[in-house]
Structure formats: structure tokens, C-alpha cells
Symmetry: C2
């Protein structure tokens, strides 16, 4: 028997900057001119059918004027497009336009766009660099930061994908002005989640300022964008590959993801997460991890924001309970939950373990009562 | 403007062992029992329709007897199966059988299986560990070592994939006894390529022992398996992500890959690479990098091995030239080639640059003359 050791120990630096401001198109072009991506001249902008006219086309024009070669690849707006089929369609379009390993990808859009484009970038030519230009509050709060990329499949959301870090992230607060009211409200679910897991005073701030936030007060928008980034990247830096701490970001998502799928995407991601947060704060209360007043404050803030706090009637509860098992935290066939420990913190069940096994029956009771 | 730095510098250790021997099924089971994959108990064996009965089923039985939970996922044998669709089909089967992030994948088969399964492992639940159990000479020489995984698309081979290192590689020489004569010959193309790029004395050895190798003399098989691994991993260790040196492994592949696609996979990978090696040694001769005697020795060895050394008549030469541009080494729309510098070495054109731009006309002439 011969044994060979392939020695592949190395230092990897995936660090990057997140820029937050009103209007960042010129900043993006300037960064690329200044060599953010080295010698890369061929850029593929990936976007959806709504964001294309609003932001992708203007960005493309500016980049072309700056001497870059740019094509825009557009897919139909919505979570239903976040599939392997959409990824394959864009890959084929890029291949037929001659894109090779010397290109880069710019995702311009919300979470669906950044999730899909980041995944595509990670497997195109075995990996090309990508940049996120986030145009929604939800993407700013969540999807565009942290390097989790994925597509959905008929059987599960976000289970096929990669950890793949962008080269830079642009959170353009100005773009929030073109969001519908429903999208703004939707984006605030992850913001409230961040406050619940990590920062009681940010939770207070949201309680005090929710009306100003909903009317897109500039100062408030900048503040929540910054706080979202700060909370999220502090978690991601400590646990990029979700081996422990990062699971805290899953608060509300065990039930939320299942509701999102069970609603057949009639509920938006944040709306489903909101209901998930309610279910899981009820679970934390049931287990004595949070008191009644705190639990009620969480539900009241979601409610005041305009987010749903009850499971819609059209969702079959038994089907929903079954769907919980497609969660990626499931281990040895058992459901596992991240749970609040009061407001602004989550329970660490043992060293670096933030998800705990919960009997199906206990979860089922809570879901039945909602 | 607020700028946040996400600090993700880290040490990554993707090192692994390659084991070469006659019969390694028990060794695999033993390694897994001894914690090669930590606590992982749920194993997905991915294999093709031919290897399933021969090796996947016996391995599965042994693993089940050792207390592991195992399912076998089978796809139809052949390069035509190395697609995004096959990957999606297996993903869906694994999802429906409850595979989550706590599983691992064992690829049992040749290059098509290890390429596809390694890619699938890299994106399943954003990455689960995998092991390669290589059952062909070609996989032993090439595919199973080095961490390049991919699928083909209608427009290009191997352009959608990942660099993803296995946890361990088993090269079971005993499996070569169930290969057809054509498969054995096919596998020797990459072996000859390795000698051409890195080792003149190994080239001599192949010239002297080709008959014994073709009759699967044990001693010779062990020797060539070891030499293949040694040459390949020395390159891979120095340049895992193909930023320079690793491109030398592309010798013969610029033309070879194009021929493989243009033949619609009537030619096997090694057969196409053999013709590619002839085209590219002619190119090296044309550029004065190799003398006539050396060039003739390369062609003679391929010929003596039973590999094709001419482009089949049914391949349209113009189409073939066009296909060259789907090569991943293409930069700014220009063809780039790795070229031999005599036997046993490749030309370094400038520091750490092993692929050089060649005018289409020069390549076309050589192809037309073949």
C-alpha cells in the first residue's frame, strides 16, 4: 500500500468591505476603475425583471462609459425564480456570449438576485469574483452580507448552494425609495430579528422609531442599515461557515422557512420569518427562556411594523410540521431550534451550540395555537 | 458613507491522503469506522450504472454491516450523464431521503462519477465532505486527484464546477481488471501526458513497458498509479486553484477537449486528449520548442499504446477550430496553449505563466494537416 499526503494548508483571505450610503452607483464604477477586481474588464450584471430598468441599466451604462465590457442577464422577479433552472439559463447565456474565467459578476437586486448570482459566480469556471449591489432593505439586512448563496428546489429552500464571499458589497439606501410598502415592511423582519438576537437597545430604537423608519426617514434608514451590518458581520466573522455561532441568525427561520415554502411563496421571506419569530418566541416562552412581557413586546413590534404574526388559514398545519424537517439544522432526524434568551440575546445551550433539539409535539402545539 | 470591513482571513487545511493498492474496500470501511469523517453516520454513495453492481453495492453492504446508514444513487454510465440535470436529479433524491448537512458522499467510479459527485458534495447543504473511490485508470491518473470537479453543459465541458478537495482518495488498482481494453488504453493518455510535462525517465519507462502495462502487470500498474499521483499532486500542491503552474496539466486539453465535444463523446476523454497531445506537440515543434525526434517519440508512444493520433474524418475542422474558443484558458478572446519544451518539461513563458497566446491561423494549419 502506498500513501501520498497532498498538503493543502493555506491562508485564505476572503475579507471585504461593505459600503452603506445614499446613491452608490458612481462609487461602484470608481472602485472598479481603481482596480477593485484587478484586470477584469468583462462584467456580467445579473438582475431581475424589475430592478433591470431601475438600476441595472443605469449602472451598465456607466460601466460601459468607463470602458468595461458589460452584458445584463435578466430573470423574472420573485423567489420562484431562485432555482437551478434559472442558474443554468444564465450560465448558458453567459457561455454563449463568450464569458470565461476572466470575467466577474455584479449582482444588482434584492436577496433573490444576490443569492442566485453569488452561487452562480462560485461555480462559473470553478469560481469568478462577484460584487453585490443591494437594492432592497431585505438584501441590506440579510442576503447580501455574509456569503451564503443558494437556490431553492422543490423539496427545500436554500439547500443547494455555497459559502461564497463577495469582493465588495454596496448597500444603496436610495434604492429603498423604489420599494413598495410591502417590501419595506418585509425587509424589517430580519432587522427585528437582528435586534432580538443581539441588541436590546437596538430593539428599543426600533420600538421608538418604527413610524419614521416606515416613512423612510433618511437618518433612520442609515442607522438601521448600519446596525444590521454591524450585528450580522460580527456573527459572520466569528463563524463564517456556520459551525456554531452563526446558527443564531436562524432565529425565526426554522418555522419561517417552512411557512414560506408551505405558502408557495404567497408570503414574502420577511413575512414568513415574522410568523416564524412569533412561533419561536412562543417556544422560548414555553421553555421559560423569555418572560411574558418580553414575548409580547416582540410580537407587538412585528405587529406595529405591519408584519403578519399569525399563520394564514390557508396553510395546512400538519403539512407545515412535516416541512420543518427540511430545515438544514435537522440532525439525526430531530428538529433543532435557535431560541431567544430574553430580548437581545440567544441561548447558548452548551459551548458554541446555539440550536437545541425540541420534541415535535411541543412545536406542534404552538403551531396549532397560532 | 459608512464602510465596514468584514475580516475573513483564515487558515484552511484541505490536506488529504491518497491511498494506492490492490483492493481497498476494507481499508475504506476501516478508515470510516476510525473516524475519518468524524461523527458522520449517513453516507450517500454516488455511482454509475456499470460500477454499481461491481463495486458500489459490495462497498455499501460492508458499510451497512459496520453500522452506517447508506443509500446508493445511480445514474446512467458515460460522459453524457455529467450534466446539471443529473446533479439535480441526485440532489432531489437525496433531499427526499432526508439527507441534510450531517451526511457525506462517497464517489465510487471513474472520472465522470468523481467529477459529478465532488461538485454535488460541494453545493449540497452548502458543502458536505466527500471521498473518492476511483475504479478506473483514468480516474486514478487524473480525475480523482486534485479537487477539480465539474459538469458539462451543451456549450462547454467542465466549465460549471468547483475546486473542492476530497477528504481521502482510494485508488484501487484491482478494479482495473474489470475495465475494457478500450478503457485501459483511454486511461493511459493522461499517464503519457504526465510523463510529457514532468518526467523524461517516466516517459522512457512507459516506452519500455507499454506491453506489460496493457496486460495489467501488477508491478507496472502500481508503478504508473504512483507516478501519476506523484506528478499530479506535486503540481496541485503548488497551485491548487490553477492561477499559474497548474495550467501545465492542460497539455493536450485545449485541442483535446474541443475534439471530445465535437465528436459528441464518440471519443472517450483520453482518446481525445491523445489527439490533442499530437496536435499540441506539432505546435511545439512548429514553434521550435521540441525537436523532430522527440515529437515523433511522443506520437509513437501514443500510437503504440493504441490511442488515436489523428483527427477522425467525421469531425468538421472549422467547427473544431471554433470549439477551441470554449476553452477556459481563453483570455480576451485569444487562444492560449500549454506547450512541451522537449520531453518531460513544459515551457515557462514568463514567471509562473505556462500558457501562451497562439494565433488561430497557426493552430488551424496544424489541425488541417491532421
Amino acid at each position: 500500500m502506498s500513501i501520498f499526503r497532498v498538503d493543502l494548508k493555506k491562508v485564505v483571505d476572503d475579507s471585504y468591505d461593505i459600503v452603506v450610503d445614499f446613491g452608490l452607483q458612481d462609487k461602484l464604477v470608481e472602485d472598479l476603475e481603481n482596480g477593485l477586481l484587478g484586470n477584469v474588464k468583462k462584467l456580467a450584471i445579473i438582475t431581475d425583471s424589475i430592478v433591470n430598468d431601475l438600476y441595472a441599466k443605469p449602472i451598465s451604462e456607466k460601466l460601459i462609459n468607463a470602458g468595461f465590457s458589460v452584458d445584463i442577464f435578466v430573470f423574472p422577479e420573485g423567489e420562484k425564480s431562485k432555482t437551478r433552472e434559472t442558474k443554468a439559463m444564465i450560465e448558458d447565456q453567459m457561455l454563449s456570449k463568450g464569458y470565461r474565467r476572466d470575467c466577474a459578476i455584479i449582482a444588482v437586486g434584492g436577496g433573490v438576485v444576490t443569492d442566485l448570482a453569488g452561487f452562480l459566480a462560485g461555480t462559473y469556471g470553478r469560481g469568478v469574483p462577484f460584487i453585490n449591489y443591494a437594492t432592497t432593505l431585505l438584501a441590506a439586512a440579510d442576503a447580501s452580507v455574509g456569503g451564503k448563496t443558494a437556490v431553492d428546489t422543490p423539496l427545500a429552500t436554500n439547500l443547494i448552494g455555497l459559502f461564497n464571499q463577495p469582493r465588495k458589497v454596496y448597500l444603496d439606501i436610495m434604492t429603498w425609495n423604489t420599494l413598495s410598502n410591502r417590501q419595506i415592511i418585509d425587509g424589517l423582519a430580519e432587522t427585528i430579528k437582528h435586534a432580538c438576537i443581539a441588541d436590546a437597545s437596538f430593539f428599543d430604537y426600533l420600538e421608538d422609531n418604527i413610524d419614521k423608519i416606515l416613512s423612510l426617514d433618511k437618518e433612520c434608514c442609515m442607522h438601521i442599515a448600519r446596525e444590521n451590518v454591524r450585528i450580522k458581520y460580527n456573527v459572520v466573522m466569528k463563524d463564517e461557515l456556520e459551525s456554531g455561532l452563526r446558527e443564531v441568525l436562524n432565529l425565526g427561520h426554522t418555522v419561517g422557512r417552512a411557512i414560506e415554502t408551505a405558502s408557495e411563496y404567497r408570503l414574502m421571506h420577511g413575512e414568513a420569518v415574522s410568523i416564524g419569530l412569533v412561533a419561536e418566541v412562543n417556544l422560548a416562552y414555553d421553555l421559560g427562556l423569555i418572560n411574558e412581557e418580553e414575548k409580547d413586546r416582540v410580537i407587538a413590534l412585528l405587529n406595529k411594523t405591519g408584519l403578519p404574526v399569525a399563520i394564514p388559514d390557508y396553510i395546512d398545519r400538519d403539512y407545515l410540521v412535516k416541512k420543518l424537517y427540511t430545515d438544514k439544522k435537522v440532525r439525526n432526524g430531530k428538529l433543532r431550534f435557535v431560541l431567544q434568551n430574553g430580548i437581545g440575546s440567544v441561548k447558548e445551550f452548551s459551548e458554541n451550540v446555539y440550536a437545541v433539539e425540541i420534541e415535535e409535539e411541543r412545536v406542534r402545539k404552538i403551531i396549532m395555537a397560532m
